[in-house]
Symmetry: C2
Subunit: 200 residues, 2 copies
């Protein structure tokens, strides 16, 4: 839509447009917003990007994002180190944290097995998970991968690896979402909800 | 939602969240996207922000954004310098450009008169417009401020300033938007469309 071209502006719009979920109109609005910032604000925004990128590494235990050797969950003495919740991404871990119902630790795989996208078990952080289980302190591994074909396959793959170790492996419950409308639930979800029904 | 806190990540999320139209969930997604970039990509993004901010100034003629003394429209010999389209913001000028129907030049006011927000005519780039008109070459000024109370007031104010100069001042037509639905048009718009009806 840049009918006339101002190179530094076009470049900034392009950068915003390359972000997920940002279309060309939004990218334009964001770029113009940046131009209206004070010099200090723009500098701070710019620094936040490089800073975050430079300082944040993977936690040496759970592979979640962290700016220190151990992430806040892994270095927290209050957290139950005998339970590990396996998730696909750091955002999934953050979503679990938001429930405030889980006081164990996480393990971030950074993806799911997906032959279509050429992602096999070796590209995921599964070795690191097995290493954590080797000392025998962990009693339960909760598979919290996404409820998709890839997530299910990954959960299945890992649970098979864990079987010989004798560690309890569980999977998040499938069912109807709270606040959802039964008539809009798809049949697979509804079938799973029926299958997993519990006594009142 | 940052239940556990990684300072550089929290800062980056905050920065994204301060942008217009970006909520906390989107800010998180964008921040995680930045973390997944390569070092070069992150650096490029960061640079695009400071570069745009440093290099882009106001065009010395029309006050639109420009990385040179004159903006691409003002330095284009093909554009009709006798017609000036007055807009509130650079984005409005870009929207006009996108129609590809206008070959005159622009004048960007950088705002509209708004007593509620303490914005008077002196805060706008109106002096610069009057200076452009002083040489007598301009034959028409098109008021393309927004169809809001502020935009209308600004258009009215400027048209009164121009009256003694004997320059033709016009206003964009009000009416029903193309592709819109008549039953959803508000009554004011519909009344203006009726008022401004043209013969077929």
């Amino acid at each position: 839509m840049a009918v006339y071209n101002i190179p530094p502006l076009a470049k900034l719009i392009d950068q915003f447009e390359s972000l997920p979920g940002i279309g060309s109109k939004t990218a334009q609005r964001l770029a113009y917003h940046v131009l209206n910032m004070t010099k200090e604000q723009a500098q701070e925004f710019s620094n936040a990007i490089t800073d975050a990128h430079e300082k944040i590494k993977y936690c040496s235990v759970c592979c979640n994002f962290s700016d220190e050797e151990l992430c806040p969950v892994c270095r927290n003495q209050q957290r139950d180190k005998t339970v590990i919740c396996v998730v696909e991404s750091p955002r999934d871990a953050m979503a679990m944290e938001a429930t405030r119902e889980f006081d164990g630790t996480y393990h971030v795989l950074h993806g799911a097995i997906s032959p279509l996208n050429n992602i096999g078990p070796d590209q995921l952080y599964i070795k690191e998970l097995l290493k954590r289980l080797s000392d025998g302190n962990v009693t339960e591994v909760i598979m919290a991968t996404n409820p998709t074909v890839e997530g299910d396959a990954t959960a299945m793959y890992i649970s098979r690896l864990l079987k010989p170790l004798g560690i309890k492996t569980t999977r998040l419950a499938y069912g109807i979402p709270v606040g959802g409308d039964l008539e809009y639930a798809d049949e697979v979800t509804l079938a799973r909800a029926l299958e997993g029904r519990s006594e009142l």
